[in-house]
């Protein structure tokens, strides 16, 4: 047989077929895995849109939260979320950008930087509910009351490590020649960082800010026992304040149809907000890193 066959005598048809079959199975399995992930996304988004659209009308944005069986909206929660996210973002960006700057520019190569970087990465992934407990011990218990400030600080602590990491990453991308050029003009390091490196990193810093915002705007757990919630529209920072996620949680767990409908509406609003922020943020990154 081997004499007549023009193919390689060592060619093992059985082995060849087996490898081919394994490969096909493998390809199908990976495609299946991707299909599962996409199906999960589609299912969740579908439910969210179908149930959420029914919960959204003008009242959602113009009226505060209702008693069961009354007309009402989510105005107090939307305002509360915006206020606390604003507090959180201001603190987080201030500290995060400075800390990221130190890591990228001043601390490079030092032992402290290695430790800080590691701890920061831990903080990024730390369970958010623990941050809530910490802020409770720090700001709620000593002052005997839940407050919007405590909620804002809890959100700040969540966003801070994200902002730090993003700042450091983007500043490291800036070419070294930029720094040399600035210094050759006689500027000191602080001046170079503030007027040249920060400016060159603008879109990256923007992305970092958006990603931190996306991270905190959907957070529920740390707000449960820092800002607590408030059925009325409130701007007092030292008083409990409502927020979207905690209100959604409360409404979704309730037995009233109206409240559940509002909860779905709120969930859709917050998901759209977070996803758009995420997409814009990532689009900016793509624009700035793939030059």
């Amino acid at each position: 047989m081997s004499g007549k066959n023009l193919e390689n005598a060592n060619f093992d048809r059985f082995l060849h077929l087996r490898r081919k079959a394994y490969n096909t199975v493998f390809l199908v399995l990976t495609a299946l895995a991707t299909a599962i992930a996409l199906a999960a996304l589609a299912l969740i988004l579908e439910t969210l849109v179908v149930k959420g659209v029914g919960g959204i009308d003008m009242a959602v944005f113009t009226m505060s939260q209702p008693a069961p069986d009354m007309a009402g909206g989510l105005l107090n929660a939307i305002v509360g979320s915006l206020v606390m996210c604003a507090i959180g973002m201001i603190i987080a960006l201030f500290v995060g950008i400075l800390a990221g700057t130190w890591l990228a520019e001043y601390g490079d190569g030092t032992k402290l930087a290695t430790v800080v970087r590691f701890l920061n990465d831990i903080l990024i992934s730390a369970p958010s509910i623990l941050i809530g407990l910490f802020v409770y011990e720090l700001l709620v218990r000593p002052f005997h009351g839940f407050s919007a400030v405590a909620g804002g600080v809890a959100l700040a602590l969540l966003a801070m490590p994200v902002a730090t990491r993003a700042t450091e990453d983007i500043m490291r991308l800036q070419p070294y020649a930029l720094r040399e050029a600035g210094m050759a003009l006689g500027a000191n390091r602080g001046h170079v960082i503030r007027s040249i490196i920060w400016r060159a990193s603008k879109s990256g810093l923007m992305t970092g800010a958006l990603l931190s915002f996306a991270r905190i705007s959907g957070e529920t757990a740390p707000l449960l026992f820092t800002s607590l919630g408030n059925p009325f529209l409130s701007f007092k920072l030292t008083q409990p304040m409502a927020s979207m996620p905690t209100t959604i949680f409360q409404f979704a767990m309730s037995a009233y149809d109206d409240w559940q409908r509002l909860a779905w509406g709120g969930a859709l609003i917050i998901a759209v907000a977070v996803l758009t922020t995420n997409i814009i943020g990532r689009a900016l990154t793509r624009g700035s890193t793939h030059k």
Binding site: L41, A126, Y176, R282
Partner: protein
């Protein structure tokens, strides 16, 4: 995304050779104080120290807040599962086991799918489509956990109850191993559905990091393998996955850390019972769901202290997991 480190700049660059500090003039011609840099530098350092203080404060507050419960109950806090605020008796075995069980189950469910997704996106799917699919998977990661929770409670739980639990109850022989594994109130809110939701939540995280890792495999290694006549399966399984093995374990542990600490989604669907779970379809609780449910309603000092002590346990479990993950991953991990 690994970024090359720029060489560090010597601090003396701003100083003139004779030792006098160079004075910088701005557009108005005013001399800038040479102290400006030092001030800015100190400010940056202060921010870093604030960062460190946060973590230390976190640990400190958990230890001091939970100390009362830990010292009062001692080792029985971990070994008993009586959680009774009325009698002021707290044993945390049930939520601790619940946390570990749901997280590992979630990982078990998510890992094969995540590997499949990552491989498909990097090696099999045409790149033009892969980019969009990758964005879709990232979207999954961006959905707030409360939305997952609501979906779990209102969509997954009823479906699971009607199409899995009830048929199983009808057909399984009472007393068989399958019955022991799947007994429980058929309302869909149980440890298994909680793990399922967690699996969907951590899947995109693990998949995204794995995808980045697989893309970092040098193309000459892949090409060499293909040149030898390897099939795609062989290239992936024998060349690419082994190449990123260490970091891949890091990615998996990062996903595990997320599953351990996730609160809202689990709180919605796990059923929130303090009984020690007897089967996969039994209701249970995790550390974070217990804290989320009870903290604002806790009145007794011992109750609050016990909840904070639970938080400390969660912190230690996640700290070890995340620290190991970060060490394995190096600086390559994702930013979120």
């Amino acid at each position: 995304m690994t970024v090359a480190q720029p060489p560090s700049v010597p601090d003396t660059v701003g100083a003139a050779p004779n030792g006098n500090t160079l004075r910088v003039h701005n557009a108005q011609g005013e001399a800038k104080k040479p102290g400006g840099d030092a001030l800015f530098r100190t400010l940056c350092l202060a921010a870093v120290l604030a960062m460190m203080a946060t973590l230390l404060g976190l640990v400190g507050s958990l230890v001091s807040g939970g100390w009362m419960a830990l010292s009062h109950f001692g080792i029985s806090f971990f070994t008993t599962s009586t959680w009774d605020p009325v009698a002021d008796q707290y044993g945390a075995a049930a939520p601790i086991v619940g946390t570990l069980l749901t997280a590992f189950l979630a990982l078990l469910l998510a890992l094969p799918v995540a590997v499949g997704v990552a491989v498909f996106l990097v090696e099999i799917c045409p790149q033009a489509i892969a980019r969009w699919l990758a964005i879709a998977v990232e979207l999954l990661a961006g959905i707030p956990s409360i939305v997952y929770g609501m979906w779990g409670l209102f969509v997954l739980a009823p479906w699971f109850s009607a199409h899995v639990q009830l048929p199983l109850m009808m057909s399984v022989t009472p007393g068989s191993w399958l019955d022991t594994l799947t007994s429980g109130v058929p309302n869909g809110a149980n440890i298994f559905t909680a793990s399922l939701i967690l699996a969907v939540m951590i899947l995109p995280y693990i998949a995204a990091i794995l995808r980045e890792l697989l893309m970092s495999v040098p193309s000459h290694m892949r090409e060499a393998a293909y040149g030898l006549g390897c099939t795609q399966r062989e290239v992936v399984m024998r060349i690419m996955l082994p190449y990123v093995r260490k970091s891949a374990i890091g990615a998996v542990m990062l996903g595990l850390g997320r599953a351990l600490g996730e609160t809202m989604a689990v709180t919605f669907i796990i059923g929130n019972s303090h009984n020690f779970p007897h089967s996969l379809f039994d209701s249970g609780s995790t550390i974070s769901s217990t804290i989320a449910n009870e903290f604002t309603e806790a009145t007794g000092d011992m109750h609050i202290s016990a909840l904070i002590a639970l938080g400390l346990v969660l912190f230690m479990i996640t700290f070890v997991t995340i620290a190991a993950a970060r060490l394995l991953l190096g600086r390559g991990g994702e930013t979120k």
